[in-house]
């Protein structure tokens, strides 16, 4: 009998039983607990992870031959010139963070700029909204778009600042100088939204506060075809109160309208006749959160940590979701990029939301390119796609929150300084925000290393010279 008890087969049986019990224990834990065990990231690590994964979108979804970036991961999606602009900025950031090699980022950005200068279809320098990613030809009968061109130019100029003194800076400047901003006024005091070969100018103008600031800034600061600085005062700054806070609001009330321009322009110190747009965006973001909270009894998606009404995909297609003040179109769809991209305005609230989305819905909402576009718990609807511009804005705003690198570099661009001065935007404690630029200083030159020639400055060397 004893020999039977101690036989190898009974020992094996015991071991098997113990393992089975352990396995059952592990499997009985909720998945979230297992995920928590898997990795616990600090706030900064989480933000960097989102940034890094989002940048991968621009590596994978850009055409290897032209560099043009697809609008979304939807099959058959054309390239979007705005997404391509964000791609230039994201690649520069990715390179700086060491996630992409210098060579790879340099060559992809250079290729994209060469395509933009030589092959991408444009009208008076204004690129068509959607282009064939392989050829750069206009597709979907799209319009030569003012705002999308501005976002591209902003991305290109920013990349030029990251690769100072290299052909990237020169090409970006050439593309910028080619744009005839005056033409897009269509003899009015407002910038038109676009132009089509068959029908001419669109009957829509950038007439009120929105993402138009970046467009105005580049148009007024242009060294070749500037629009009169007086036009800065022509667009409306509609103001309304939400929960006792005054906000200069955009028509849709979408978060992205408060973010796009400020992904590039540092408004923290700038004052526009009593309006500080940074503070305004902060207030608009808090209003957006509050609006979601107030509507949380109606929609399961909304909550203390689940907010972010901005233009995104939804169960009924792409919509300019937004909150009050503004049109406030909403149906319970939240875009994580909305709250994430406000991290520079409302760090505490945004990180709380990001962490909530990441820790609770990671399996459905997070993928290889960061957060997928949006979700709606009421309709159990989860976007399966990533949108280039949505991934891009998150990358830039996180970068600004974690060090303000984009702001620092972008504000060094002479055209931006020219716009600040021309529009008399006051910097706290100073009459003129920037010393007056001489005409010659608007041309490309090294500003980071005064007194050094290009050859002496290691940051100006082309990639093959950098070991």
């Amino acid at each position: 009998m004893s020999s039977q008890k101690n036989s190898p087969s009974s020992k094996q049986l015991k071991i098997k039983r113990i393992f089975s019990a352990l396995l059952l224990c592990i499997l009985s834990f909720p998945p979230n607990f297992l995920l928590a065990l898997e990795e616990t990231l600090s706030d900064q690590e989480l933000l960097r992870k989102i940034q890094r994964d989002s940048i991968q979108y621009f590596v994978d979804c850009s055409d290897p031959a032209t560099g043009l970036t697809r609008d979304s991961t939807q099959a058959g999606a054309p390239s979007s010139i705005a997404a391509t602009g964000f791609s230039l900025a994201a690649l520069a950031i990715g390179q700086k963070q060491g996630w992409i090699s210098y060579q790879q980022a340099y060559h992809q950005i250079l290729k994209t700029l060469e395509t933009a200068l030589n092959n991408a279809q444009h009208q008076n320098g204004f690129f068509y909204h959607f282009l064939d990613p392989k050829t750069g030809r206009r597709v979907w009968a799209s319009e030569a778009s003012s705002i999308d061109t501005a976002l591209f130019i902003a991305g290109a100029l920013l990349a030029g600042e990251y690769f100072k003194g290299s052909p990237i800076e020169t090409l970006a400047q050439q593309i910028y100088e080619r744009v005839d901003w005056k033409w897009m006024l269509n003899q009015s005091d407002l910038i038109c939204m676009g132009w089509k070969p068959q029908t001419g100018f669109l009957p829509y103008f950038w007439d009120s506060y929105s993402e138009l600031i970046i467009l105005q800034a580049l148009a007024i600061g242009s060294p070749t075809h500037p629009i009169p600085p007086s036009l800065w005062n022509q667009w409306n700054r509609f103001e309304d109160e939400y929960n006792g806070t005054k906000i200069v609001y955009s028509h849709s009330g979408s978060l992205f309208t408060y973010q796009y321009s400020q992904a590039f322009i540092d408004f923290r110190e700038l004052d526009d006749r009593g309006i500080n747009y940074f503070e305004n965006s902060k207030n608009a973001t808090l209003a957006n959160k509050q609006f979601c909270l107030e509507n949380s009894p109606r929609f399961k998606t909304y909550g203390e940590s689940s907010w972010g009404l901005t233009a995104s995909l939804g169960p009924g297609g792409y919509k300019a979701y937004g909150a009050l003040p503004g049109q406030a179109l909403h149906d319970g769809t939240i875009a994580p990029y909305g709250s994430a991209s406000s991290v520079a305005f409302t760090p505490e609230e945004s990180i709380e939301a990001i962490r909530f989305f990441y820790e609770n819905f990671r399996d459905k909402l997070y993928g290889k390119y960061g957060f997928k576009d949006s979700f709606n718990l009421d309709k159990d609807w989860w976007a399966q796609e990533y949108l280039g511009i949505d991934q891009g804005i998150a990358v830039l705003m996180i970068e600004n929150y974690l060090g303000g690198e984009v702001w620092k570099r972008f504000m060094q661009i002479p055209a931006i300084q020219q716009w600040v001065n021309a529009c008399h935007l006051k910097m706290k404690g100073r009459e003129n925000a920037f010393p007056e630029q001489t005409k010659g200083s608007r041309k490309i030159k090294s500003r980071n290393s005064p007194g050094k020639t290009k050859a002496e400055d290691s940051s100006l060397r082309p990639p093959e010279q950098i070991s």
């Binding site: 597709v139 009968a141 028509h251």
Partner: protein, 216 residues
Amino acid sequence: MQSKNRRRHFLIDKPFQFRYMSWVLLILLIISATLIIALHFGIWGYALKEFSDESTRNALKMTSRLNDYEIARYQSASEVTLPKLAFIRETELFSNRQREIIQEILSKTRQRTIFLGIPLLFFIGWGSIFISHKVAGPLYHFNRIFKELKTKNLTARVRLRKYDEGKKTAETFNQAVLELDRSIARMKKAAREAGEHAKLPNELTEELSQFKTTQD
């Protein structure tokens, strides 16, 4: 009024002309077949790919998406657009896209045809040179021999290559020159022999002496 010199019969040398006709037809057949195959497979290859169920579905999705983008951006439109009107706009966008695709297909096919056409042009050029050299070579030889004959050199003969055209003509021509050569040679010999016994006019002897024959 018909010219007396007008050629009434076009088949002068049947084997020669039929042979040339066969060559030209063969070349044209190759060119046409290549172009037809390229166009057919080019257009249909792209068309089948671009209008597959999957591509059409994706295009329709993008149509709807782009319409949504327009509505989202041009806020005023969202206030007035009814579902049916949105559908009309989507149809318009889709139709635009289909036209772009067709244009793209034709453009790609044109590029492919040009791509194929360039080597074909070289082939035709090379082929015509190859074929015509069989005629051009003999003509050159005839021309050279006529120049020799002009200098009264009766020893010159037309010598053609194995696959040259006009061999029979050359043979007949050489026979004629040979006969003339022999005849002049005989005359020269007769003049020489007669010169010893009778006085011949200087002009005749001088003229005969200018001829170069195979007997000299």
